[in-house]
């Protein structure tokens, strides 16, 4: 192929946001279409699916193909883009009759709880009818086409991405409204008879023709940007403009007039009016109750997860990996980006662990390598003692967690392979010693700071180890899920499945799944954050929202997320070094220690106490300060988790390729000549902001729901939650600031090269 032609064809501008949106729409439509096809096979044919898919493809072609890339250089390419958005994509999408499939494709809670009230709203229905009324929609499309082709506005679109997007949105949505009555989208009722769509289409063609003629026959270049643009292949700007006019004229007219002819022929068909049956009522919208989706019942993955030795295999793999990291940490080069201990735990493992929490649940604890050696040792010498009653809380773990977060920053643990290796070794030794003496999973439940991180954040995970059908457990007398049996041990963390609520303290070990003789325990889909609002006691935990130790743990994790991420931003680093120089200390440790004492302990304690006190003043009588503070503190977990997610995903995405040469070096024992540098794609800050947005919204929603327990009426609930909402918004604002700051890319060769 000619290299220039090949270069043109390869000039795609694939925007991840657009791709995600189109894929999500395709998945939603397909899901809904599959359901509706069972109920209404004549209505939802393969043709509808093909039409909708083609419509999405047309949008992709318009916004991501070379048509978009060359739109700024050639008016004809820009015109093709507009035709795709006005005359191709909307009718194809609407021919797919998308309303019901998209609604039925949504998760049940979104469709029923979030959208339900809007779908039933009279005013919105009336607004929708007005927007797709033939007169209104014709006016809207004509106005959009004429106004956006005025030179001043067209130039605005050419010079600004935002205005260009607005222009495309106007074209697309006006066209959707225009084509809606022409196609007759179900279940809306047509305002005019079908034959009346013929003048509707012809009138639109007149506008299109008038504008095309102006472009075709103008003796000067209307849009100055094209005059300035380099002329490709010697095509003059005026010729380009005439060609664009011709494209708008001929294919544009075909797009309007062919449907008009088809409608005319149908109207003239004898007896057609009588054969049109009334549309079935919206029976399809009824949602039947279903059992929640169960990961263990998925075809391949479910079988793998249910395999008796699955966990042992994963733990063994992680144990080998941990051993490799520790060996390299002790004996490898003490340069973090060149060492497994400087790259895998801090860049990859943390990122993958939080993504697993977001997408599934506490998969880290499921694969935890630290408990494997003690499990093997227990076969020979079982522990005798129970964990002391006075220590059965999260206070030790919370203290260790705060200490770890401080040490990470104060001693730059991420920059020291040897320290990383010592931490790993220390973890194995501690887990082994604690669990050699004490029964159950005492280390996991009361000591392990990493475990607590996962227990708390798994409260916002979408999957939960849970009883499938509670009625089955009603007749159970053996309680194998917690007591175990001769084949399988029960839950070491004392979580009795029928009374377990949420993921807290659950290591996803699946012992209960293996132990239940009724096979009544699954990994079920749940609403993320639902357990944050629970006020019922949970087995092995009690009432989560009445435990100060859990609240303290949550508070450390929430504020730790922001402190930890802020520590790698340029302004905070500069500030620390300014104070370091001003106070004349030998190291930054005292300043970091003071910062962490204030940011991780004092400020959170003051803010939470004060918020609890304010809420107490406005709450109904009987609500205690302790209950309010503990309950509302837990609702801050989503915004804190969002910050961890934004922070760790930043490291993972920017530094994922750094593992390859380090692994190569570990096995070949030869230093590679070059190392990939950290690279941050343009979409990453957007993704981080989406995480923060969702975290804030989930926190506010949880606080709103919780507030109703302490208030009589909505106004009172709003005042009770307001200090916590303010705190969440302040954390969110801090997160925004952090995400938009220049970041230090720890654990990458670039960073290290500059250090020395």
């Amino acid at each position: 192929m000619d290299p220039v032609a090949a270069a043109v064809i390869a000039s795609w501008s694939l925007d991840p946001k657009l791709l995600c949106l189109l894929l999500a729409l395709a998945a939603l439509y397909l899901r809904g279409w599959l359901r509706l096809r069972i109920e209404l096979p004549r209505k939802y044919t393969i043709g509808r699916l093909a039409a909708f898919s083609s419509g999405l493809l047309a949008v992709l072609l318009a916004l991501a193909s070379p048509v978009d890339t060359f739109g700024t250089l050639l008016l004809e390419a820009h015109m093709i883009q507009h035709l795709l958005l006005i005359m191709v994509a909307p009718p194809l999408l609407l021919l797919g009759q998308p309303v019901l499939p998209l609604l039925r494709g949504l998760p049940r809670w979104i469709f029923k709880d979030a959208l339900g009230p809007f779908l039933g709203c009279r005013e919105l229905k009336q607004l929708g009818r007005t927007l797709v009324h033939p007169v209104v929609s014709w006016l809207a499309l004509s106005a959009a086409i004429i106004v956006w082709h005025l030179p001043r506005l067209y130039e605005l679109g050419l010079h600004s991405q935002a205005w260009h997007g607005a222009e495309h949105a106007c074209f697309f949505w006006a066209a959707v409204a225009f084509w809606w009555p022409v196609i007759g989208v179900w279940p809306s009722r047509p305002a005019w008879p079908r034959w009346a769509m013929i003048p509707h289409l012809v009138a639109a063609d007149l506008v299109n023709t008038g504008l095309s003629a102006v472009l075709c026959f103008s003796d000067h270049v209307i849009y100055p940007s094209y005059q300035l643009a380099p002329r490709l292949w010697g095509i003059s700007a005026l010729d380009d403009q005439s060609a664009a006019g011709a494209i708008m004229w001929v294919p544009g007219s075909i797009a309007f007039l062919v449907p008009a002819v088809i409608l005319g022929m149908r109207a003239l068909e004898p007896g057609r009016a009588r054969t049109i049956r009334p549309m079935p009522r919206v029976k399809a919208l009824r949602v039947s109750p279903r059992l929640p989706w169960d990961l263990l019942r998925t075809p391949i993955l479910g079988s793998i997860l249910r395999f008796r030795y699955f966990r042992r295999c994963v733990q063994a793999a992680m144990l080998l990996l941990a051993a490799a990291v520790a060996i390299d940490g002790f004996f490898g080069p003490q340069v973090a980006p060149l060492n497994l201990a400087g790259v895998l735990p801090w860049t990859h493992w943390r990122g993958l662990a939080v993504i697993a929490l977001l997408m599934a649940g506490n998969l880290f604890c499921m694969a935890c390598p630290f408990t494997l050696p003690r499990d093997l040792a227990r076969k020979f010498a079982p522990p005798r003692y129970r964990w002391p009653r006075q220590l059965r809380s999260k206070w030790i773990a919370a203290g260790l967690l705060a200490g770890y977060l401080w040490a990470y920053e104060a001693f730059s643990l991420w920059d020291s392979p040897r320290w990383t290796a010592w931490i790993i070794l220390g973890y194995f030794i501690t887990a082994f010693m604690v669990d050699s003496v004490f029964k159950g999973a005492s280390f996991c439940k009361y000591v392990c700071p990493i475990g607590q991180f996962h227990f708390v954040h798994a409260l916002v995970s979408p999957l939960e180890v849970k009883v499938r059908e509670p009625a089955v457990c009603g007749s159970c007398r053996t309680h194998d899920c917690v007591r175990g049996n001769h084949l399988q041990r029960g839950c070491e963390l004392n979580l009795f499945q029928p009374k377990k609520r949420g993921n807290f303290d659950c290591t996803f070990c699946l012992d209960c799944v293996q132990a239940c003789p009724q096979e009544n325990v699954g990994i079920l889909r749940v609403l993320p954050g639902a357990s944050l609002r629970e006020d019922r006691p949970s087995s092995g935990i009690g009432r989560l929202n009445r435990r100060p130790d859990v609240a303290a743990l949550a508070l450390i994790l929430v504020f730790g997320a922001f402190a930890n991420a802020a520590g790698m931003t340029e302004p905070v680093m500069l500030w620390i070094h300014q104070w370091h120089a001003r106070l004349g200390f030998n190291s930054t440790v005292p300043i970091v220690t003071a910062l962490y004492a204030v940011g991780l302990l004092i400020i959170p304690a003051i803010l939470a106490s004060a918020s609890g006190w304010v809420s107490r003043r406005w709450a109904r009588a009987g609500a205690s300060w302790k209950d309010l503070t503990c309950t509302f503190t837990l609702t801050l977990v989503p915004v804190g988790f969002a910050m961890w997610l934004a922070h760790f995903s930043n490291h993972l995405v920017a530094g994922w390729s750094t593992a390859i040469p380090v692994v190569e070096r570990f096995f070949s024992r030869v230093s590679p000549s070059s190392f990939p540098q950290a690279w941050m794609p343009g979409w990453l800050p957007s993704l981080e902001l989406i995480f923060l947005d969702l975290g804030l919204l989930l926190t506010l929603y949880a606080a709103w729901r919780v507030a109703h327990r302490f208030a009589n009426g909505e106004r009172m609930a709003l005042t009770v939650m307001s200090p916590w909402a303010g705190l969440a918004c302040a954390l969110y604002a801090a997160g925004l600031w952090i995400v938009l700051q220049p970041m230090q890319m720890r654990g990458t060769t670039m960073m290290h090269g500059m250090m020395h």
Binding site: V8, M573, V589, P685, Y732, Q744, M750, M754
Partner: protein, 169 residues
């Protein structure tokens, strides 16, 4: 905590962070040697911070795009004398007829642009000047993400009212 030398790579990372679309506003158009050179910059208007500079090389005769040249750029701030070197490539460009490179313009003002093209052993040079405005607030480019939570909150409030109204009926 590490030393402040790390701030330089921080800036470089930020420069790489913004994979801007190539093309954008035409900054320079010159005929030099056998080529017509057009330099584009994005974003428009050009402001200090991470930017994308791209070039279209065309044969003088027939204006056919030239795809097999080696291009290098030097940008020099007239105010501070700061210098940036870049090697635009077609791989980096979205429009594969262009040669593009991401650079970070650290300060506003006039920057001198030197373009060097090597093709078939022949060297062609062109120079020009570009005006760089003050850096815009990074937050302004993410306004839609920041506006998202308030929008959802408003929708939630409407939803609650609709539910209440339905319950009253």
């Amino acid at each position: 905590m590490t030393n402040p030398k790390l701030l330089l790579p921080v800036t470089v990372i930020l420069a790489q962070a913004s994979a801007l679309a190539d093309g954008g506003a035409v900054q320079l158009r010159k005929e030099a040697g056998p080529f017509v050179i057009t330099v584009f910059t994005a974003p428009a208007p050009l402001s200090a911070g991470p930017v994308d500079i791209s070039l279209l090389l065309q044969n003088r005769n027939g204006l056919e795009p030239v795809l097999d040249a080696s291009v290098s750029l030097i940008l020099r701030s007239e105010a501070s004398g700061a210098e940036i070197q870049a090697r635009p490539t077609r791989e980096w460009a979205q429009n594969k007829l262009l040669y593009a490179a991401p650079v970070t313009l650290a300060e506003p003002g006039k920057w001198q642009l030197d373009v060097t093209i090597l093709r078939n052993g022949e060297r062609t040079e062109a120079t020009g000047t570009i005006d760089v405005a003050r850096a815009f607030e990074m937050a302004s480019s993410y306004w839609s993400y920041i506006a998202f939570p308030p929008l959802i909150i408003v929708l939630f409030v409407i939803r609650e009212r609709l539910i209440r109204r339905k319950a009253k009926r």
